[in-house]
Amino acid sequence: MNVVAPAEPLKPKDFATDQEVRWCPGCGDYAILKAVQRTLADIGARKENTVFVSGIGCAARFPYYVESYGFHTIHGRAPAFATGIKLTNPKLDVWVVTGDGDALSIGGNHLLHALRRNVDMQILLFNNEIYGLTKGQYSPTSRKGTRSPSTPQGSIEAPVLATAFALGSGARFVAHGVDTQQKQLVDVLTRAHAHKGTSFVEIFQNCIVYNDGVYDDFTEKSVAQDRQILLEHGKPLIFGKEKNKGLHVKPGTFELEVVTLGDGFGESDILIHDETNMGLAMMLAHMAPPLMPMPIGVLYCNPAPSYEQSVTDQIEQLKKDAPSGSLNDLLRRGYTWTVS
């Protein structure tokens, strides 16, 4: 390795390590890795100032494959490590990579508090709706009825909706991406990075070995346009091959329905996407095919002061108000007496 001169612009491949990538051939993680390396190049990231932090899982192997600093920690706790890192050195650009089990099973509490505190970092959740690394047990995002080694008769729990959970936890940036939809994924990652505070991105990732095709119902080329709605702030919520379907608020109620432009509804009847509206974001987070389209892009973005910033401000203020003396002074403040 050599010292990198801050000037020279980096290419995606500059963010590849010398380590052999150890995911199963055909795993969706490869596509995500590609998108992330592309994003890093696009945003002009510096290897030395970039840190990838992960928990445990197939997804969590990610840091080994990005030429930057990386910390492969323990299962479920990555957001806590990342918080310590960012608080200690706010100049670092911190990315957390986690899986659905890592983030939402064992790690749910840390995810909640990272989002609530709004530490400036990006949390990428690779959701394959399964525990990959431990050989295919169902996960908290697995659909009801998922048969797995630990649920031979099928799982019985309602899955947790990652983005709904994030919104309930007070997240200020919540988005959806798809592993193989590179362009949108890079766009979302770029926005996530630009957002100051914790950005939460759920990426639908295909596990070819244990859960192949779970997302086909809206990612299959043939159905994608009719089953996905691409979100754009300030634009009407329209989708469909013919761009003729849209979301409409039943008047006087708080409900959304899909209507077809033309028969009785004009563009003005279509709800405008407002990234800052919590209730709307929550409704979007609950939408899923076949009844509703899957929202792709930014569901919610409503910036607030970031945690590490407030910490720094508070300490700076304090140093003004109560400048620290020497340690000797510190020990001697308050009641002391002398024996001579």
């Binding site: 492969h72 323990i74 608080l87 050195n89 300490i315 304090l318």
Partner: protein
Amino acid sequence: MPDTVSSEPARLDLESAVVRFAGDSGDGMQLTGSQFTQSTALSGHDLATFPDFPAEIRAPAGTTFGVSAFQIHFGTKVKTSGDAPDMLVAMNPAALKVELKDLRPGGLLLIDEGAFTERNLRRAGYDGNPLEDGSLDHYRVLKVDISRLTFEAVKDTGLSQKEAMRCKNLWTLGLVYWMYGRDRQPTIDWLNHKFAKRPDIAEANTLALNAGHAFAETAELADDFPSYRVRRAGLPVGTYRTVTGGEALAFGLVAGCRLAGIELFLGSYPITPASPVLHALSNLKQYGVKTFQAEDEIAAVCSAIGASYAGALGVTSSSGPGIALKGEAIGLAISTELPLVIVNSQRAGPSTGMPTKTEQSDLYQAVYGRNGDAPLVVLAARSPSDCFETAIESVRLAIKYMAPVILLTDGYIANAAEPWLLPDVDRVAKIPLAFRTDPEGFHPFLRDPETLARAWALPGTPGLEHRIGGLEKDYDSGHISYDAENHQRMTDVRAAKIDGIANDIPEQDVAEGADSGKLAIVGWGSTFGPISSAVSRLRDEGYDVSHIHLRHIWPMPRNLKALLGGFETVLVPEMNTGQLLTVLRSEFLVDAKGLNKVTGQPFLVSEIESAVRSRLEK
């Protein structure tokens, strides 16, 4: 025989005295105690205190489980908070009921008659009234209607009845101040400062304080009220302050980090009795300290490890149940070889146990309590002020060896106060520290050939980009490795690194007595006071007994085996069922015997003495 200074009563001379204040959680006994401690210190006594409060925040008035007590031992050669009190202040029947058993026969008993109502007596579980049924005959009893007198004293301030009654403790303090010839001014200053926003309250308390003092002073009562002159301590010259273990520990961590020129990051989650460290450090943010109250103990330790990874010294503090939750993450710090200081303020277990009571039962957990072969450093502080030095030592070892250090203290040390001869920090040896910056031949597990510590390379350093984690790493490259021989090699080097620390710590000294002989008492942590007092007395009586007290629990001092070998008998007093005992026996095959007390209370000096007497004839 007492000299009679003008206006000063004839005072009995005492070597030392033990006073215990006891009352309702609401009576402000802890505050009374700390003020008396302050004044004791200012009048140049050596001292040791023992606050003993209930788990309930503010239990219903008058209940026995709501009794809060504060004991202080002061005078010369004071090493413990004292066995049996010479004087007990009981603010209500419940306090009398709970605390009387400890008062020494003939001891002085100050009682607030006013609180001995039918209702309170029944609440406390008395059938009759101890003030009348002669059950107090063995003691010297002073009955005063403190409640009424306090009310009289403050009635003109316009305070509510409730607020007025809150001044009882200051009235009592005034009386006790007179008995021990104390100056009221510092307390008055303190009141004015504390209640700056409520001058009426400050005034009322001051009135009460003075009234209590005056009450005792008034001639006609004078001889009911014994007055004492307690010997000043022959303390070494220098500047002193009183300090609790919690404060000293915080100061020590800050000092250590300053000496290494590094930021301190505390990731913690509140828990009794560990919270004082969190609170103290939260007040020192100007001193290169960041404190983070995490969502739980796991996040606390993980954030601290993250901080160390990023270039601060990560510290986490908790008590037994919280430390249990940190085990997995501590393993990661061991595997990634990052510095980390874990402070455990031990409390009575198992499980939730008795949160406000002290114990030493987490030594197993510290030395052995992790999955895998996972060695780390374990240190223990012996007293409130010793927390300062031990904390600095923890910082030194964590940084120099890129390893987690567990610092054991306990509920007694955390809350007890003692006078502290303030060190000149500028004179303390700096802690050398150099982060890796040279990319030449770098890999993250490159080791210092001498300490075996790996290179500490911080994110943000160009050219040193690398990945670490909890999977086994290749010795020569730091990459993931499942190679069999390599795992053996890494396991061995992790162990060798910690074992090697034995050569970097002082040889074990003998705190008191000869370095060989009939009997050695080997202690660790807060048993220092009682052991040391007992050994002094026993030696004065001619017993061949020595006191060895460990600061370094793991690795152990290199000369310890030989040292213990020089004694016929080795006795190990512990506030647990024999945990250090297990380590000593397995390490040195020495047939050491345990002296174990698991009551949530510190050892009494007498308990140690009699254990020795029963084993030794002079």
